[in-house]
Symmetry: C2
Subunit: 463 residues, 2 copies
């Protein structure tokens, strides 16, 4: 008798028709009369359930009939195609072994629960439809990203999480220490003395692997990072988490145009991969989470992404006649309302906005010949706004040093980053993609807490 | 004219023979007479260099001749097969554009440098042979792991790094806080009050994602994690880092035998994948780093791994006649010398040691019927010793609670972990593989600092 998964039964039902098979899984629903009963069995391998029919001839029929949701079973039965019925096939149970009984107080009953409530049972929520779909898609999208870059010869680099430098000053950081906070060693001035701490100095959790990534791009040419990143910002929004995953490719002998091409190819690849490999989950999202989802994703996949400079974008916004909450003029950082107008109303497709004023962008971005803007790009997508931010990097040592001096950054802190410009500098570029952002975009889920298995946000580090 | 990579030229040299191509890369070596010169050009896409011939007819011949190592160039030239020469082909330069001159003090000169020295220039070391090979292999091995699990339908789970619980008490932890250590808020007893800290309580960096992983295995059946893990242990050895990457698969409806089968398949798969996809790098390791490497890896790939219980292993050691530094008797934790005797001398192949005394293993491992041992397994490999540790998990609520009480672990701290045993428990198992351990094993590198791009160890968090 063959051990099979529910996925196998769905994908190769003809092959198993009429055969006796062994399936193991959890009860999603159960109902029984005196004579027979039905179980919807889910084994975790597939989004859909297997319908199991069990009859009163089974010696443990009564025990089975009384099972609570989420009980685990091992079932031998005959797999039968049922072309006349609603479901395509069913398993006629010959023997049912109860592996683990679930308690009757199982918190995930059949009725709908709010996402807020489900966050309080993050250890159980992937057993329901929505979160099993979200987290399978998350897994597939992560793999798609690796596959995309590896097929193109990119080297995957694990950049460090604990860092002794403030990198780009991109955000508030978490401190990392082995000191007992009640009693840390002090120096003669009564200040905490970090010389005795684990790393011999103050350390934090990284906000970006980019600067480290650049070192590797200047050795391997094309690299990417994919790892956790941290922000200690006290912002209790639906789009911010303290711990999230980020993808940061970096390409040498490449400029901003190459960078945008890479970003566009990657986004399309990931969406296509998920659509092909999780069709049932995607149907579910399109039906129950966001009915515009397929339209939106198909639009992304089939469009040539638009391109517009920041200066042009500002003109478009000024001429739009829209009444924005934040007034538009050259020099401002675009707000979500502006970004969405550009991508949704004006272009109605994803669009790269390029060449931002240097004042609102990071020190490492390459200064354009106008000396006012930098070779930066943000990818805006309908329904969300910014999803990717990138730039060509400043490869000219003097220009970079001058810019750092302007911003008060110390050369000593970036000695190794600056050395990349001394020893065979090249044009290079890269971008960052917040992984959760693209998962939200692909699934239609609107709260970042619902696309991270065990989210860490202000005030919350449960499980 | 076609832009090509050095990898393309090596892999499809016939296709490009006689063609004019454009290549960009960095100078690895350069020598020139008055009439002509040679450049070994590396573009990061391939382990080997492209030989470039340039002649004094080039208008910038003198500038080129004087270039320092690691200068970046853009070269148009004719690609010619050279069957009569040592190298298989060369590029006859027609035009050489100097993109970035390297300084003459470039620290990675052609002579051999010690690995210790190279750690001090971690931003440049991947530009040399050894570390370009190490980090390409690391990238390929990481991908092989994803590919292995994804092809088998496993769901990739991102378990949290910041944790509010001490998990399994597996090791010293780093504290995470946003408090200013000079002045943290205190409660009425003068102790640090964590209520005001970012997460409203004390938090640390995780030592294992296993307990979180189990939640997902009991939803998806087969899952794996692959992410950073931390140990704040003050051990300055060649095998320990404060930050490293770990793979932790977890499989439901599975026992210790399934677990060992999975581990064996995975190890073989990763080795085969790297051998196939980085043949040049692996040749290099076998020639310059560890001349027993191929023998060792071929032995692993072609062996059926041995299996022996801890009790049998102790008997083997007692009867061995060896004079061990640590005397052997039933109940001790096996030391590296014991492990290596078992795998190298007795079996001469990888071997799983199973069923360890419960006293030396973690609380979550399943108690065997003898009530003395647990369903644990360690995989020992020749040349290293332990490389994987795993177990079947205790799925019986009462047994688990009793074991936790014995060890003084509080039920409240593990409420969600215990609930997995209330709501549809099943047999399940898993293991942990330190990613750096397998990279060291595959490359022959003997110091963990040399297989992590920017290592974090006691006293060191540079770059």
């Amino acid at each position: 008798m063959e051990k099979v998964t529910v996925k196998q039964l769905y994908r190769e039902s003809e092959k198993f028709a009429g055969k006796t098979v062994l399936v193991k899984g959890w009860v999603r629903t159960i109902r029984a009369s005196n004579a027979f009963g039905f179980i919807e069995l889910n084994d975790g391998t597939f989004f859909k359930n297997l319908q199991v029919v069990f009859e009163s001839e089974l010696e443990n029929y009564k025990d089975i009939s009384k099972l609570a949701i989420s009980s685990s079973l091992s079932i031998e039965g005959e797999f039968a195609l049922t072309p006349e019925a609603k479901q395509p096939f069913e398993l006629k149970a010959k023997k049912v072994v109860i592996e683990g009984k679930s308690d009757a107080d199982y918190p995930l009953q059949k009725k709908r629960h709010s996402f807020e409530y489900l966050r309080t049972i993050a250890h159980l929520r992937p057993r329901g439809n929505t979160f099993s779909a979200v987290f399978r898609v998350r897994s597939l999208a992560a793999y798609a990203i690796h596959k995309f870059f590896q097929e193109r010869g990119f080297v995957y680099v694990h950049t460090p999480l604990i860092t002794g430098s403030d990198a780009e000053g991109a955000g508030e950081m978490f401190r990392v220490t082995t000191y007992d906070l009640n009693n840390p060693p002090k120096d003669e001035n009564g200040k905490v003395d970090f010389k005795e701490d684990f790393f011999g100095k103050e350390t934090s959790l990284t906000v970006s692997g980019q600067l480290n990534g650049e070192c590797y791009a200047l050795a391997f040419r094309d690299i990417y990072t994919f790892g956790p990143t941290f922000r200690a910002e006290n912002s209790n929004t639906a789009r911010h988490a303290a711990e999230f995953w980020m993808i940061e490719p970096e390409i040498a002998f490449a400029d901003l145009l190459d960078d945008m091409e890479l970003a566009e190819d990657m986004v399309k690849y990931v969406i296509n991969y998920v659509m092909e490999n999780a069709p049932e989950e995607m149907e579910f999202f399109n039906k129950f989470i966001d009915t515009t989802l397929f339209d939106r994703l198909n639009n992304v996949v089939s469009s040539d992404f638009g391109r517009v400079t920041y200066t042009e974008a500002v003109e478009i916004l000024e001429k739009s006649g829209e009444n924005f909450e934040y007034p538009v003029k050259w020099g401002i950082d675009l707000q979500t309302e502006h970004e969405r107008y550009i991508t949704e109303k004006h272009f109605n497709k994803p669009v790269f906005v390029t060449d931002y004023p240097k004042e609102i962008k990071a020190f490492y971005m390459r200064i354009n010949d106008d000396n006012k803007t930098v070779a930066a790009m943000d990818l805006l997508v309908p329904g969300v706004g910014e999803i990717i931010g990138g730039s060509q990097r400043e490869e000219r040592l003097e220009v970079l040093e001058a810019r750092m001096a302007e911003l008060g950054l110390k050369k000593e802190d970036y000695w190794w980053y600056l050395e990349l410009r001394k020893y065979g500098e090249t044009k290079h570029a890269g971008f960052g993609l917040g992984f959760e952002r693209i998962i939200m975009y692909i699934t239609g889920m609107t709260n970042i807490r619902d696309v991270i298995p065990f989210p860490r946000t202000t005030g919350t580090a449960e499980f």
